[in-house]
Amino acid sequence: MTDRGLRIAIGVLALAGAAVAGYLTWVHYRPEELICIGGGGCEIVQKSRYSELGPIPVALLGLVAYLAIGATALRRDLLTAAAAAATALAGLVFALWLVYVMARILDAWCNWCLASDAILTVLTVVTVVRVFRLAEPAPG
């Protein structure tokens, strides 16, 4: 895939992730609007203490991260691509911790969060591939 293709993929995935994270941020402040798909686990997860880092909703952090990663698609340098990959990878590791929390501590599943995790996984792969691509020698 060309760098242009990778940048488009990053933009689209980041927008999709931002949409999910944006919705979860919104319902964090308006819990009565939460629509749980496939059971009531998302309500438990959203109201648990793990839904916040200090005073900041985790979903809001996710939203900011997705938007930041999406913005990196506008630039073509290696440093920006590496920053996107680092952000995505850090988010993925943290997301895995939250999956552990859902499975082993809360015993409740938030399908919106899992949707975000799926997007983030693909986004991480794409951003890392882009680092490889930009570090390759230019043809010729």
Binding site: G40, I44, V45, K47, S48, R49, Y50, E52, L53, G54, V58, L78, A81, A82, A83, A85, A86, T87, A88, L89, A90, V93, F94, W97, L98, V101, I105, L106, D107, A108, V128, V131, F132, L134, A135, E136, P137, G140
Partner: protein, 242 residues
């Protein structure tokens, strides 16, 4: 600039590899540092559910006995399974023994396997601590955490009518149950839904002729337990289940 020597190509590839290695190292190190900080803050931060718990919520978890089993209001387990009702008072010592020694095995062997569903029928006839404790247990039904709270309360059972069900103890119980919104739970102590559950259990006990606690009924039929252990439970309930 088109005619690069082979040496120039090698040099450029080496530079590129170095750049890639540097970039990847930076990515991994930065990501690891950020992720570690996030996980540490997530594990240790906060003051409990909704900021209302006074004790540490870092220890919040679900009792192993009920983990992974669907819970709906007063019911634990497969909603279509035969109903095993438990009539109990949180102050009664035998109920405590049943909750902590018998029920984990019953849940493991009968509820988790879908043979029966466990239905809570909480009674409060021993005194004020019974009433306060029962409200706390029944209030957790609204969040599908009733059996979690019941077990955590039984673990802390005190001397009958000694005033052991204190607000501090309830804070501790609430903070120990993962997934429980403590402020909502506490405001539900006096909710109409909670008092309805208490009334329903009391009426059901009268109708079923329950004379003591703990009493177990399988689809309305008394389970004749000779002792509060799993062997006696097998002996009593297996013939009833057929």
């Amino acid at each position: 600039m088109q005619a690069l020597s082979p040496g120039g190509t090698v040099h450029r590839m080496k530079t590129s590899r170095r750049t890639l290695a540097l970039a990847l190292t930076g990515v991994v190190v930065a990501a690891a540092a950020v992720a570690v900080v996030l996980v540490l803050v997530s594990r240790g931060g906060g003051d409990g559910n909704g900021g209302s718990a006074t004790t540490t919520a870092a220890a919040a978890s679900r009792p192993a006995s009920v983990r992974g089993i669907p819970q709906q209001g007063i019911v634990l387990g497969n909603p279509d399974a035969p109903a095993l009702e438990e009539y109990a008072d949180v102050q009664c010592p035998y109920c405590g023994e049943a909750a902590l020694k018998l029920l984990p095995d019953v849940i493991d062997q009968y509820v988790r396997t879908g043979k029966v569903k466990l239905v809570w029928r909480g009674l409060a006839f021993l005194g004020p601590d019974s009433v306060k404790g029962l409200k706390a247990i029944d209030a957790a039904a609204a969040q599908n955490r009733l059996w979690d709270v019941a077990e955590r309360l039984y673990e802390r059972q005190g001397q009958e009518n000694s005033g052991w069900v204190t607000d501090e103890l309830l804070d501790e119980v609430g903070a120990s149950v993962a997934g429980l919104d403590v402020s909502r739970w506490k405001s539900d102590f006096e909710s109409s839904a909670t008092s309805k559950l208490m009334d329903e259990a009391s009426t059901a006990a009268t109708n079923a002729g329950v004379r003591g606690t703990p009493t177990f009924l399988l689809d309305g039929r008394p389970v004749p337990l000779s002792a509060l252990d799993i062997a006696a439970f097998h002996k009593a309930i297996d013939p009833m289940l057929g």
